[in-house]
């Protein structure tokens, strides 16, 4: 594997970055989808799809990935408190894009107590719910290499991305009111480097490369795990969201929910589809038709007018009721 600067995306996170300067190769021209921009022109080139593979079975829970993430992205997660669990912080935050989630599993088949550690963060879905839900043009983009990125200067902080995400990943900052999540280190990938977390991982539980290479690697890992007695080992690359560009090797791929509630069959909620699909298009059409129709009818139709006769009737009625003395005054 090499870091050849002529490659359109890095093939590994392990080797050192190229020493010669190189141009960032992940630009607006590589965007295949952007939020609230339905008529985006097709990009001229197609980048090789990349992926980050997280092999849960190799993770030792050291949190080097979290440290590297905070360091590279220059975030300063708030100093929290100890609630008696290993998660730190206790949830993803606008300053912590990735989080090791720890769960204890008392395996009824083997009698072993298993410590399942999953690195949580954006999955970079091929069909991203955040992007579908976002109302701000260009605030969420998807590059042709599969990375889903938030463009913060366009973000308005509405939180629709949270509503759309099947994995509950984005977090809106209380400081600048913009939404944050893992970028898959798009700024590193653009210049031939792998993501910071993969670079920092001491056991290579996190590896990075082309999606095809990663699938091949994952298959090897699954085979190895099976030979060690994990019959249900497998890949978690969920179909419901079109596959993801961050995916897992799980020793219990038949029960993803063991890993801190990793969803069984994630997909964009039909409720979100209904909101962003039929409600949006038909709703606006009906409003438009009603507005135009009433304006046209208002201009061309016959108005409901009061006649002089009716004014006289009213006068008659009121006068006949006036107390004597006031009449005709």
């Amino acid at each position: 594997m090499t870091m050849d600067p002529n490659l359109d995306s890095p093939r590994t996170a392990v080797s050192n970055p190229p020493i010669q300067p190189m141009k960032a190769n992940l630009g607006p021209g590589d965007v295949v989808r952007a939020s609230a921009m339905p008529d985006l022109p097709k990009p001229e080139r197609e980048l090789t799809p990349v992926a980050k593979l997280i092999d849960v079975s190799k993770c030792i829970g050291c949190k080097a990935c979290q440290s590297a993430c905070a360091e590279w992205n220059d975030t300063v997660p708030e100093i929290g408190f100890n609630a008696g669990v290993y998660e730190n912080p206790h949830d993803l935050t606008p300053d912590m894009f990735t989080l090791m989630r720890f769960s204890e599993f008392d395996n009824p088949e083997t009698g072993n107590l298993e410590w399942l550690i999953r690195k949580d963060g954006c999955m970079h879905c091929s069909d991203p719910g955040c992007l579908k839900a976002c109302p701000a043009p260009g605030a969420i983009v998807q590059y042709s290499n599969g990375i889903v990125d938030f463009i913060h200067e366009n973000c308005i902080g509405c939180g629709y991305c949270i509503t759309g995400c099947p994995f509950d990943i984005p977090r809106v900052s209380k400081v600048d009111h913009k939404s944050y999540k893992c970028t898959l280190c798009s700024d590193r990938v653009a210049v031939g480097q792998g993501p910071a977390c993969a670079k920092a991982c001491p056991t290579q539980a996190i590896v990075f490369g082309t999606k095809n290479d990663m699938i091949e690697h994952a298959n090897m890992r699954v085979e190895d795990l099976k030979s060690r007695g994990f019959e249900n080992a497998g890949i978690y690359d969920p179909e419901g969201v079109g596959g993801t560009h961050v995916f897992y090797v799980l020793h219990h791929a038949d029960q993803p929910s063991l890993y801190s509630n990793l969803p069984e069959n994630p997909r964009i909620s039909p409720v979100v589809q209904g909101w962003k699909g039929v409600t949006k298009t038909i709703g606006l059409a009906v409003i438009g038709a009603a507005a135009v129709g009433s304006i046209l009818h208002g201009l061309l139709g016959r108005a409901n007018k009061v006649s002089a006769e009716e004014e006289r009737e009213a006068e008659h009625l009121v006068e006949s009721n006036l107390p004597a003395g006031k009449e005709g005054s």
């Binding site: 109302p135 308005i156 902080g157 606006l284 016959r302 009716e310 107390p323």
Partner: protein
């Protein structure tokens, strides 16, 4: 003096030659326009975040971020303002038997033959419909709106509930905009109506044509009159 059945306290015959009738006092009118203005701001800012083709409307508020924080605050203003309006108007908007006849013969209303219909109090069934639709939809909108208010209530409800709230909020918004269009259209189409919310009065002929029971009650009250 006898009890009012078809009119609000404050409604009275203002002058007799020509007849003008006071329909809304100043407080109610200001209350109405605050509500109307809030609804218009909500409609524009909401539509801007509803459909990409209308996102440019955020420019009216100084961009997307401003639109995002302004919309829910104006929502609260609308809710409070409409609530005050509701307290004043709800009693005369309760359904009456003649409303059924009015709705059944809506064709006569549209073609301008109101003389074929029963005499009405202060509101006809259409106006009552707008009133109750607004009341229900505003409650639905404020409740679902708070559930998706990221800035102050990010963890009020679970994600599945929040998704439903978002869908219901947008459906209710479509319905309230349609109600709003119907309300404005009816007020313009029925000539002589707008002045009830600007000057506060209507002509006697207008009251005779559209709300004769209301006019009769007010005329009847003149007989006793204020102590002379």
């Amino acid at each position: 003096m006898e009890k009012r059945l078809y009119s609000q306290s404050g409604d009275h015959i203002e002058s007799t030659d020509p007849v003008t009738v006071s329909r809304y006092r100043g407080f109610t009118r200001i209350n109405h326009w605050v509500t109307a203005l809030s609804l218009i701001v909500l409609l524009i800012s909401g539509l801007a975040l509803f459909h990409p083709s209308l996102y440019f409307l955020t420019g009216l508020f100084g961009g997307g971020q401003n639109t995002r924080w302004l919309h829910p605050l104006v929502g609260i203003l609308l809710f409070v303002s409409f609530f005050i309006l509701f307290v004043q108007l709800w009693r005369l908007n309760l359904p009456k038997p003649e409303d059924r006849t009015w709705v059944a013969n809506i064709g006569d209303v549209v073609t301008g033959h109101e003389e074929r219909l029963p005499e009405l109090g202060k509101y006809n069934a259409g106006q009552k419909g707008v009133f109750w639709a607004m009341s229900v939809l505003i409650i639905v909108l404020i409740v679902s709106g708070v559930m998706v208010w990221e800035e102050y209530f990010p963890e009020l409800v679970s994600l599945p509930v929040r998704r439903w709230a978002m869908l219901i909020h947008s459906l209710a918004a479509v319905l309230i905009i349609l109600t709003f269009i119907a309300h404005v259209y009816a007020a313009v189409w029925t000539r002589g109506t707008l002045r009830a919310m600007t000057r506060g009065t209507v002509t006697g002929g207008w009251a005779w044509r559209h709300h004769r029971k209301w006019l009769r009650e007010l005329a009847g009250r003149e007989r006793g009159g204020p102590a002379e």
